[in-house]
């Protein structure tokens, strides 16, 4: 029977090609606009580390107090050096790291080669296992290396290519800012987006190849490798230079800790409050503890990482899809009711209402499939051309993949069949006797 309905649908669609093309175009454009904006939205709002984002936490401590007008009740966006170091020293989570942005120059061996500017981070060794950073060769450094400010470095694959021509460079020496470091690990391709471990400096997204170099934080501080990321000050540092920044309560250090259970989270919260109380007792803070502990999804939400333009675009595109569907309902209604006579004859010859439903929903589904195919093409064009209108750091996150393609066709077919429900209902209500009489 289904084959017969397909044939009927095809014949009916051919009878009014203009109307058919109109409906297919409407569905195609509506679905493509929604899917293109959805691809962008999905790209920028994706969970950067889905397997453990709910176990990674960002602590916030209020070291500025409640009088600051710019921060209504919320602690500052990062930690100052004193508190970050205290948290590292207390080491209350199984894995944790303070993090700050560096931009050293790497000087390749051999005469006549220009220094290479690299972006990277000063971190603790636990950064790598905590974020499941993938290594091509070697590994991160140990707690011992942290403690001894060891001159070791983890480098990105691109820097490895530039300096050593690729291959296993573990054990080789690399010149960073005029000092020798031993390469201890080479990263595989690693650049999760949003850059959840450093939202303050990046706003969440960065083009390019990801961080090129990591050095132990205590080592970086010891050799005066200054923070090149953002810093916010409530009170200007008294001393000048990087040392002045360390002694100030300016905030410039990102921090992340892994907490594996609800109990661990609870006790970490308790610890942060206890810490703030201690500081109050010591006279550093003059206010009650005002701390936060966000897991990664909550943190990205809190920092408004997903641009609101992306959400507004998606909503407007969904609005367009709804208009296209209303349009399709109207056109299908016209198309189906025009065939009242035919329906009357079928019903009079014994077709049940169910059969009428099957026949007309098949027709709607076929239009949906047509719209889906057109939608696929247009979504392809749309996603490929987002680079023309969006900044590169966002555009490259919008990707075409099988799940997007399947979703496109599925949305087109299901939406069109939904749109076909009311016209089909009306068609099934056609009174056979009345139709036969007037004809």
């Amino acid at each position: 029977m289904f084959g017969y309905y397909l044939e009927l649908a095809l014949r009916s669609l051919k009878r009014s090609p203009g109307l058919t093309v109109l409906m297919v175009l409407a569905i195609g454009f509506g679905v493509a606009a929604s899917m293109t904006t959805y691809a962008v939205f999905r790209g920028v709002s994706g969970d950067p580390i889905p397997w453990k984002s709910s176990k990674l936490f960002v602590p916030r401590i209020d070291m500025w107090g409640p009088n600051d007008s710019g921060h209504v009740g919320d602690p500052p966006d990062a930690l100052d050096y004193t508190d970050a170091m205290a948290l590292m020293r207390d080491h209350r989570a199984p894995l944790q790291s303070a993090i700050y942005l560096i931009a050293p120059s790497v000087i390749p061996a051999g005469a006549g080669r220009s220094p290479i500017p690299v972006d990277g981070y000063a971190v603790y060794g636990e950064f790598f296992p905590m974020l499941d950073v993938p290594f091509l060769y070697g590994s991160g450094w140990s707690a011992d290396d942290d403690a001894h400010q060891a001159a070791v470095a983890v480098i990105g694959d691109k820097l490895n290519q530039q300096v050593f021509g690729g291959g296993n460079s573990v054990g080789k020496t690399i010149d960073i800012e005029g000092k020798d470091y031993r390469v201890i690990g080479v990263l595989a391709d690693w650049n999760p987006q949003p850059i959840f471990y450093d939202v303050m400096d990046t706003g969440g997204y960065g083009g390019g190849d990801g961080p090129g170099v990591f050095v132990p934080l205590q080592r970086a501080v010891a050799v005066n490798m200054a923070n090149v990321g953002a810093n916010e000050c409530r009170v200007q540092p008294v001393e000048s230079g990087f040392v002045g920044l360390q002694h100030s309560n300016c905030v410039w250090i990102a921090y992340m800790a892994e907490l594996d259970s609800a109990a661990a989270v609870q006790s970490y919260r308790q610890y942060l409050d206890d810490y703030a109380r201690e500081q109050r007792a010591a006279g550093r803070f003059a206010w009650a503890p005002n701390n936060r502990l966000f897991d990664v999804p909550a943190y990205l939400e809190q920092e408004h990482v997903v641009p609101s333009d992306t959400k507004v675009s998606l909503l407007v595109a969904l609005g367009l899809l709804i208009v296209c569907l209303v349009n399709t309902v109207g056109l299908l209604l016209a198309k189906f009711l025009r065939r009242s006579g035919e329906i009357g004859v079928r019903r009079a010859l014994g077709a049940s209402r169910r059969a009428i439903y099957a026949q007309f929903l098949t027709e709607a589904g076929m239009i949906g499939a047509g719209g889906g195919v057109l939608g696929l093409l247009l979504t392809g064009v749309g996603v490929l051309s987002v680079g023309l209108v969006l900044p590169a750091r966002l555009a490259h996150l919008a990707r075409i993949d099988p799940s997007l393609l399947m979703l496109t066709v599925l949305v087109a077919v299901v939406a069109t069949m939904l749109a076909g429900l009311y016209p089909t209902f009306r068609a099934s209500r056609v009174q056979p006797a009345w139709q036969l009489k007037t004809n």
Binding site: N224, A230, V326, V389, P391
Partner: protein
């Protein structure tokens, strides 16, 4: 024309009427909000920065193994390196002028701080962007000095990058002068930065200078101050003005000249950027949003127009016989045409009324959810006229076809 037959006929096909009206309502709601967004973005991109942007470009470079700058000797070493660069670049044949600079409008990084009217004032009166450069800063940037005087070579100091001590002289933008000294007597007045007790005297006022950080209309957007300070760090930024029409050549000459003077430095493909490039990049997302909204509006209007054509055509086909009867009874072609036009106007009118409510509702929702601004009524009014015109344009072809139905149809069986 008597409205009664139209209303009676509409009652016969309620579903179709509701669908067209709904479609017009939704279209109106989305299109006027989208056009409002587009207009906002266009206004935003068109705002002048206060700079003379033609022929302006920025050089950012970093020295390798530079002195720390934490002690006076190494600070002087850094400063002499910077002075050498300035001299090198100033002597390039296509360069008209140059100044060291900390940041430029729209660059998305820069330094800010508070301004108070009293020493050690705890809460700042206003916040401001800080620009640092030498005596050539105003002329290179092309700022318009509207009161007081420019910096002279004698005013210029050099300080470490993180040295937060304030200079004794400053030039402020008109927006700051107006806010702090509403009587227009800012010149010679003393202000205090960042709750300090160091007095700084205002010696000049410039018309306009946009924030490096706040690309919108936030509190920082137009509040900028300039200091006659050459900042010394392991990196340096220079703003250059090329001679008219020589921008590309001037930009090309920079890297080789700097490397020739001192090879121990880092310059990459982002190090030399024209201001036009900085502006385009800063507003890329806004322009993109405007284009996207424009495309969606076009599709939306197209789909709605096509829907009206399709459904009206169906109605015309359905009513051929009745049209024939009317024609046979003496109705003119123009009467039939007007009938369908009026019918469409009625449906579109209903849709527009619902659409106005939806449009305002959508705007209010966007305000609460996405910090959008309130949409002026004019957008809704223009939107209403637009959808009514769209309806009339779309209905014309099927209505014309209806008016061409010959009276003889009345005598034929269907």
């Amino acid at each position: 024309m008597n409205m009664h037959p139209i209303l009676a006929a509409l009652r016969k096909h309620k579903a179709g009427v509701v669908l067209i009206a709904l479609q017009i309502a939704l279209t109106l709601a989305i299109v006027c909000n989208a056009i409002f967004i587009i207009q906002q973005r266009i206004d935003m991109v068109r705002r002048p920065t206060g700079l003379n942007e033609d022929n302006l470009f920025l050089v950012t470079q970093q020295w390798v193994n530079a002195p720390s700058g934490d002690d006076p000797a190494s600070l002087e070493k850094l400063d002499s390196m910077q002075q050498a660069d300035l001299a090198t670049l100033r002597n390039l044949p296509d360069v008209a002028s140059i100044s060291p600079i900390r940041s430029l409008p729209l660059l998305r990084s820069g330094s800010t701080g508070g301004i108070g009217l009293k020493p050690l004032q705890q809460k700042s009166t206003i916040d401001s962007n800080f620009f640092y450069g030498d005596e050539h800063m105003l002329s290179t940037l092309g700022l318009q000095l509207i009161a007081g005087r420019d910096f002279t070579a004698a005013d210029v100091q050099n300080k470490g990058f993180r040295d937060e001590s304030r200079s004794p002289l400053t030039i402020v933008t008109k927006s700051i002068a107006d806010k702090l000294f509403p009587h227009g007597d800012a010149i010679g007045k003393v202000i205090y930065f960042d709750s300090s007790n160091t007095p700084t005297t205002i010696i000049g006022v410039v018309a306009r200078l946009q924030s490096p950080i706040d690309a919108g209309e936030g509190p920082l957007a137009w509040n900028s101050v300039l200091f006659p300070v050459r900042q010394d760090a392991n990196f340096a930024r220079y703003v250059l003005r090329a001679k008219p029409g020589r921008l590309a050549d001037a930009m090309k000459a920079v890297s080789p000249a700097l490397y020739a003077a001192n090879p121990m430095r880092v310059l990459d493909d982002r190090s030399v950027r024209s201001f036009a490039d900085i502006r385009a990049k800063a507003y890329r997302a806004d322009v993109g949003m405007a284009i996207l909204m424009g495309v969606i509006c076009l599709i939306l209007l197209g789909v709605t127009a096509a829907g009206i054509v399709g459904l009206t055509s169906f109605w015309v086909g359905q009513r051929r016989r009745q049209i024939g009867v009317r024609r046979a009874l003496g109705a003119r072609k123009i009467d039939i045409l007007h009938y369908f036009q009026l019918e469409n106007l009625l449906i579109a009118g209903i849709g527009a009324v619902v659409g106005i409510l939806l449009a305002v509702g959508l705007n209010l929702w966007l305000i609460t959810r996405f910090e959008m601004d309130r949409m002026p009524v004019i957008y809704v009014l223009v939107g209403v006229l637009a959808v009514l015109a769209l309806g009339q344009a779309a209905v014309f072809v099927p209505a014309r076809r209806a008016s061409n139905v010959p009276p003889v149809v009345a005598t034929r069986p269907v």
